[in-house]
């Protein structure tokens, strides 16, 4: 009887340990810092230089954001703020890009009239790495 109780307790602790391992282990990996969101895609056209903000506006298509459906749209590369990673061919057309962006931040501004106006984009790249032109 006594041994049976010990067995039950031991089994309980072993089960608890496994559960802990399963729950905690995934959090040992590095994670993106919110509110950064992942993106991947290919620029389609020569990037547009933003005359006020010294950034580059680039139209991506296909553009993979958080969802599985490919989209199209512009993202902005800011030379000083965006962290560039290998192969550094950022905004080069037909070159695969992968990185993270902040949605809704307008980082491309063009000078018109008495000031600057945002050239709208989906967001600003925070860090980005590239493949080689023509790569997939």
């Amino acid at each position: 009887m006594y041994n049976s109780n010990i067995m039950k307790t031991v089994k309980k602790y072993i089960t608890l340990l496994f559960v802990l391992i399963i729950i905690i282990a995934p959090f040992q990996a590095n994670a993106l810092v919110p509110p950064l969101l992942p993106f991947g895609g290919w620029p389609d056209i020569t990037p547009i230089p933003c005359t006020c903000s010294a950034s580059l506006w680039s139209w991506f298509g296909p553009l993979y954001l958080a969802g599985s459906v490919p989209l199209t749209g512009p993202l902005v590369y800011v030379p000083y703020a965006t962290l560039p990673l290998a192969n550094f061919l950022i905004t080069v057309p037909a070159t695969p890009h992968l990185g993270a962006y902040i949605p809704g931040v307008q980082a491309c501004w063009m000078y018109v009239g008495f000031g600057c106006v945002p050239l709208p984009s989906i967001g600003m790249m925070v860090y980005v790495g590239t493949g080689l032109p023509g790569g997939i």
């Binding site: 602790y13 590095n30 919110p34 550094f88 709208p120």
Partner: protein, 380 residues
């Protein structure tokens, strides 16, 4: 039964031990170089004799390489600190920076050019320390961890440079960085820091027309902890928390003023491109967009924008480009999408055929730029 119990106790102890080891065992680290101790360390390997590029890891006056490796600016030695560096698309020259204690070739170069280069760097994903770049150097030393490579894009105006000397480092000049798991470059704080260290620029002012004492918000880059905001003849010192925005009260005197900022990063003034505000007792409110029809629109459609506070002439900015001097009539504006500045380029993208894409729209009127982007769809 007793043996079984002991066995289970030992087993559970082992599992607990494994778990503890798994959690607390030091993870494999990726090392890179934190600092280099060369005098005015210029580190580069050019791939082209005709168009060698100049890589200066140091901003003028600095004596150590910044610990944050990103966004290194190449500043020709005969040129003062530059405020604007663009990455020209035609620049494809490559160079590699080799910074490891077990694999080092250093050359210092004095540039004769006045063009600008941007060195983008920071790869932690290379497996070979030194690569053959354009046949100039071939040396491959396998490394255990990671190398630190860089890619240089130069302008076509870069002139031949002179190699001054070759420096071979000693391992003692390096100190390892913390592991990749503590690499803060990918954090939001690092982004803020990069904004703070960017060249000073000012591009967003909202609202454009204000009453005396109203709060004006500025957006730009390179805003430091303390910034002097100049409004005409007035100066006010303002703190920026994030490096790209700040707010300040409008002056009490009425009038139209140029706005610019000065701080430790320089001045935001650009000759010929003033950023203005108007202090008035009766400011024109910001424009707002209420609807865009048809939605979804087709590429060739004329869209009708309905909203408030439009002026006689407005600037329309969409994901298809910018259109200036657009007249409004009774709170509506009509424009043809295909007339936008980049519309034809986007239409010609093969991937766009048959797709529906969301388009963002801003309007700039006499009151300033609409606060929020209005989104509508366009069917290709």
């Amino acid at each position: 039964m007793k043996r079984k119990t002991i066995f289970l106790l030992i087993a559970s102890f082992c599992i607990a031990l494994i778990f503890v080891a798994y959690v607390f065992w030091p993870k494999p680290s990726i090392e890179k170089i934190e600092s280099l101790d060369f005098n005015n360390c210029l580190v580069f390997q050019s791939d082209s004799v005709e168009k060698p590029c100049y890589i200066d890891r140091l901003s003028p006056g600095q004596t150590n390489i910044p610990t944050t490796e990103q966004n290194i600016i190449i500043i020709p030695s005969n040129e003062a600190a530059s405020s604007t560096v663009m990455v020209p698309s035609e620049c494809t020259d490559s160079a590699s920076v080799f910074e490891r204690d077990d694999c080092v070739i250093k050359k210092a170069i004095t540039s004769k050019n006045t063009g600008l280069c941007t060195l983008v760097s920071g790869s932690l994903a290379q497996s070979v320390c030194l690569r053959d770049v354009g046949g100039s150097v071939t040396l491959t030393i396998p490394i255990q961890n990671q190398s630190y490579d860089a890619f240089l894009r130069s302008t076509s105006s870069v002139l031949p440079s002179t190699i001054q000397n070759t420096v071979v480092s000693s391992p003692n000049t390096y100190s390892p960085l913390p592991s990749a798991q503590t690499d803060t470059r990918f954090s939001a704080d690092a982004l803020t820091q990069r904004f703070r260290e960017s060249p000073l620029s000012l591009f967003g002012v909202s609202p454009y027309q204000v009453k005396p004492g109203d709060t004006i918000s500025l957006q730009g880059t390179g805003f430091s902890d303390t910034n002097d905001v100049h409004v005409g003849g007035y100066t006010i010192t303002v703190v920026s928390d994030d490096g790209f925005s700040l707010s300040f009260p409008a002056p009490s005197s009425l009038g139209e003023y140029d706005v610019w900022i000065t701080n430790k990063n320089g001045s935001s003034q650009v000759i010929g491109r003033p950023i203005k505000i108007v202090v008035t007792t009766n400011p024109v409110p910001l424009p707002t967009v209420l609807s865009v029809l048809p939605n979804p629109a087709e590429y060739g459609d004329t869209i009708i924008i309905t909203g408030n506070n439009f002026s006689n002439t407005n600037t329309i900015s969409t994901s298809f480009g910018i259109m200036e001097n657009v007249a409004s009539s009774g709170g509506t504006i009509s424009i043809r999408l295909s007339d936008m500045s980049f519309a034809s380029q986007i239409k010609d993208i093969p991937y766009m055929k048959g797709r529906k894409t969301p388009i963002l729209l801003y309007i700039k009127s006499d009151g300033g730029v609409s606060k929020e982007a209005y989104t509508f769809d366009v069917q290709f």
